[in-house]
């Protein structure tokens, strides 16, 4: 079919222009920025000190003094949500970092080598995938004890095969391309080709997967914290706040509502951002539009 109207691949500025016409991207970008800003601001300022317990002020309903109300120790929920963002972002980000840092080299290496190496790495991947992620995370924290660092490791380990798979699939799609053949004809070895040609071409793929895993990381951290296996007090975390809230749903529903909303909004924002990026950069979706 000759529907191929030869749309040129965009320059950076035209991508930007397109990006800001993409509703999902803009919404995701703004939300993500807001959450980030909230986390950063919390370092310098929060309405109240989140480490200070004021038992006499416990479980107060939202008011002008406490917009989101107070928790069972009289702490300001708004301040805790702000500081909690730090923890969620840190855990999810580092976990994505671990996943990418290990998974992407493995995946590209497997694709470049092929054969036995590929087979073995992918079987190893299967092995990790065969373990229910949450269960393994629980076992990991049971061994090393609960805490933010161990939550990061537990979530990060399960990001590795995800990125390895995506990187491998992406790389396998790049390898048969003629420009790779051209590079081989120019005498480049597989490592050089992987770094110079394959990685830049799967970068957007990885970026999109990265935002998805970031969002999943926030959910996973919340889940682990909810089971009491994530960040420990006095550091507030959204999942922990929900854990504390669940026994007080009748008298202090705001304790559950606000951190829950924070998780929903953050995950929603990241997913929208990922969708937006995929929409803007994926040539296939471009053709569909």
């Amino acid at each position: 079919m000759t529907l191929h109207v030869d749309i040129p691949e965009e320059t950076f500025s035209s991508i930007l222009a397109k990006a800001f016409r993409n509703t999902a991207f803009v919404a995701g970008f703004v939300i993500t920025l807001l959450i980030l800003a909230m986390a950063i601001v919390s370092y310098a300022w929060t309405p109240y000190d989140v480490t200070k317990l004021v038992i006499s002020d416990k479980t107060q309903a939202p008011s002008l003094a406490h917009w989101f109300g107070t928790d069972h120790f009289g702490r300001d929920i708004l301040s805790m949500v702000m500081v909690g963002a730090r923890n969620s972002i840190a855990v999810a980000l580092v976990a994505v970092g671990i996943g990418m840092g290990v998974g992407v080299p493995l995946g590209t290496f497997a694709a470049a080598r092929g054969g036995l190496v590929d087979e073995m790495l992918m079987r190893l991947n299967d092995l990790v995938f065969a373990f229910p992620a949450l269960l393994s995370a629980i076992m990991i924290t049971a061994i090393f004890g609960p805490g933010a660092v161990n939550a990061i490791i537990a979530i990060g380990i399960f990001n590795i095969p995800v990125f390895a798979r995506v990187a491998r699939a992406g790389a396998l799609a790049i390898w048969p391309r003629e420009f790779i053949l051209a590079a081989r004809a120019a005498g480049k070895n597989s490592t050089q080709i992987s770094i110079e040609h394959v990685l830049p071409n799967i970068a957007t793929l990885l970026l999109v997967q990265g935002t998805i895993q970031f969002a999943l990381g926030i959910l996973a951290e919340a889940g682990l914290s909810y089971l009491g296996l994530g960040a420990q007090p006095p550091m507030p975390s959204w999942g922990r706040m929900l854990f504390d809230a669940q026994t007080r749903m009748v008298v202090a529903p705001w304790m559950a509502i606000f951190p829950g909303m924070a998780i929903v909004v953050a995950v929603l924002g990241l997913n929208l951002l990922g969708d937006g990026i995929a929409d803007i950069l994926d040539p296939k979706s471009r053709r569909q539009r």
Binding site: L53, T59, A142, G145, G228, P234, T247, V250
Partner: protein, 492 residues
């Protein structure tokens, strides 16, 4: 809002069929926090076993009443020899086990001998250590001879570990308990619930309930909605932290009773800098018990100043020994050469009193310059690391055994506390039977512990029961951990 509710209700009306409640019910669902590992009270320490079976399925010669008093049970009456060594029990006749076999003196002898045998797996073998011999006088009479006079013997025979079992069923009680009580065991859905039904051939006053289901609800978070939705009608051991949720609801009755659980901030007395008296005292001054009780126990529970329940007649009120005084605490730390504060860890087992209290204590100690890292641990790890290996700085735990002040004199106990003066008091106490003298010695012991600030004494764990307002006859206090259903009934 109301409209919404109506619409929603109408939309899912079909689901509601069968949930409507009827008057004069004879069934009861009771929530219990822990699942018993098995169902033989004579072969395990877990309190959860007694919570289900004690007085309901199994009975002893004597039993403990709602306020801790000793009452006759399978024994109609007893006589005690003058030297206090020989107890002669007269037994009820016509009693049958649930499997239809007869109960008589042979069963008593079997049960007591089995419990004190060398290969016994009874968790409280100490209860039977004083027994010299058990003799069957006639089918309705048993004579127990003690090695030494023992004031607590009748009380001991009321423990769940001393219930009477039949030789025919003793080995299978773990899975299918057979007793003489007003309820017989029906089924156990592991991980979910244990169901008892009324026994038709009970020797005493039959129970009012036809069926009682003990449902295992491990989390406070799940207990509240279960109660509110009416799925479960009684939680005799409710998490104090959740009481606020139901306190103002007229459908429920909240009963605050007492326990023997001294909740303490345990300190590793040998580990620097906690080996310094000033440091321990500083910690005691830094603690604000009121805030802790308010924050971790919904304001319920009495503050304690030493290791004896305030409800006990032997208690000396030492709560004023270390008032909340941040300045004094800092001063003491300065004396100890730690004016710039220090770091330590606080290991917290799973119960909410520990986890919540830990957060508050960490915050309070931070105010005096002690920076605590909170490490939550499971019971397995707590027993392993803290209790056995003594690898800890601070921890919070409730010591629920009654009259257990002697633990501070035990060698190698996890407090790592060693004070010959205290040991001497305890040794004397063990040789003393005179009430007044005992009270004085106990007073001394309490004072020594307080002066040494061995641990941070926090509060007496309350026994919070929450149940349907129409339910009558459940125990208000918890002299022992049990849910005696013999007198429980629904009003109306």
């Amino acid at each position: 809002m109301r409209l919404w509710k109506t619409i929603l209700a109408a939309a899912v009306l079909s689901l509601a069929a069968g949930t409507s409640a009827f008057a004069a019910r004879t069934d009861l669902v009771i929530g219990i926090p822990l699942e018993p590992p098995h169902l033989d009270p004579t072969a395990g320490a877990a309190a959860a076993i007694d919570e289900v079976l004690y007085a309901n399925v199994f009975e002893g010669l004597t039993r403990i009443g709602p306020n801790g008093e000793v009452l006759p049970d399978l024994a109609v009456s007893w006589t005690i020899s003058d030297d206090g060594k020989v107890y002669t029990f007269k037994l009820h006749t016509g009693v049958k086990f649930h499997d239809g076999t007869d109960f008589n003196a042979d069963d008593v002898k079997f049960s007591l001998d089995r419990a004190r045998a060398d290969n016994s797996v009874n968790a409280q073998k100490g209860l039977f250590a004083g027994i010299d011999k058990v003799e069957v006088v006639d089918p309705a009479t048993v004579k127990v001879t003690l090695k030494n006079p023992q004031g607590s013997f009748l009380y001991n025979m009321g423990w769940g570990d001393a219930v009477i079992v039949a030789p025919e069923s003793a080995d299978t009680n773990k899975e299918k308990p057979i007793g003489t009580g007003p309820f017989k065991f029906q089924s156990w859905a592991k991980g979910s619930s244990i169901t008892l039904v009324k026994s038709d051939h009970y020797w005493g006053t039959p129970a009012s309930l036809d069926k009682a289901e003990f449902r295992i609800v491990p989390d406070a978070a799940a207990a509240v909605p279960a109660l509110l939705s009416g799925d479960i009608q009684a939680f005799p051991f409710f998490d104090p932290d959740s009481v606020a949720q139901v306190k103002d609801d007229p459908r429920f009755k909240v009963v605050i009773g007492s326990t023997e659980g001294e909740t303490i901030l345990s300190i590793n007395n040998k580990k620097p800098p906690f080996d310094k008296l000033q440091v321990r005292q500083a910690i005691s001054y830094a603690l604000d018990r009121k805030a802790i009780i308010d924050g971790a126990s919904a304001g319920l529970g009495l503050p304690i100043g030493s290791h004896i329940s305030p409800a006990s007649k032997d208690c000396v009120d030492l709560t004023g020994r270390y008032p909340h005084d941040v300045a004094k605490a800092k001063e003491l730390l300065k004396e100890a050469g730690l004016e710039s504060g220090f770091k330590a860890t606080l290991k917290l087992p799973p119960p909410s009193y520990a986890r919540l209290g830990g957060e508050i204590i960490a915050s309070q100690l931070r105010d005096v310059g002690i920076d605590l890292e909170i490490i939550p641990v499971e019971w397995a790890q707590w027993l392993d690391q803290v209790f056995t290996k003594k690898d800890y700085d601070l921890t919070i735990v409730s010591h629920t055994e009654p009259n257990d002040i002697d633990i501070y004199s035990r060698k190698d106990y996890y407090f790592n506390y060693d004070n010959p003066a205290f040991d001497k008091v305890i040794a004397d106490l063990n040789l003393t039977s005179d009430e007044a003298k005992r009270k004085e010695l106990l007073g001394q012991a309490q004072k020594i512990l307080a002066d040494d600030a061995v641990v941070g004494f926090l509060y007496e764990l309350p026994k919070v029961g929450v149940w349907d307002a129409k339910l009558q006859g459940l125990w208000e206090n918890a002299p022992i951990q049990a849910n005696d259903l013999t007198k429980v009934k629904w009003s109306e």
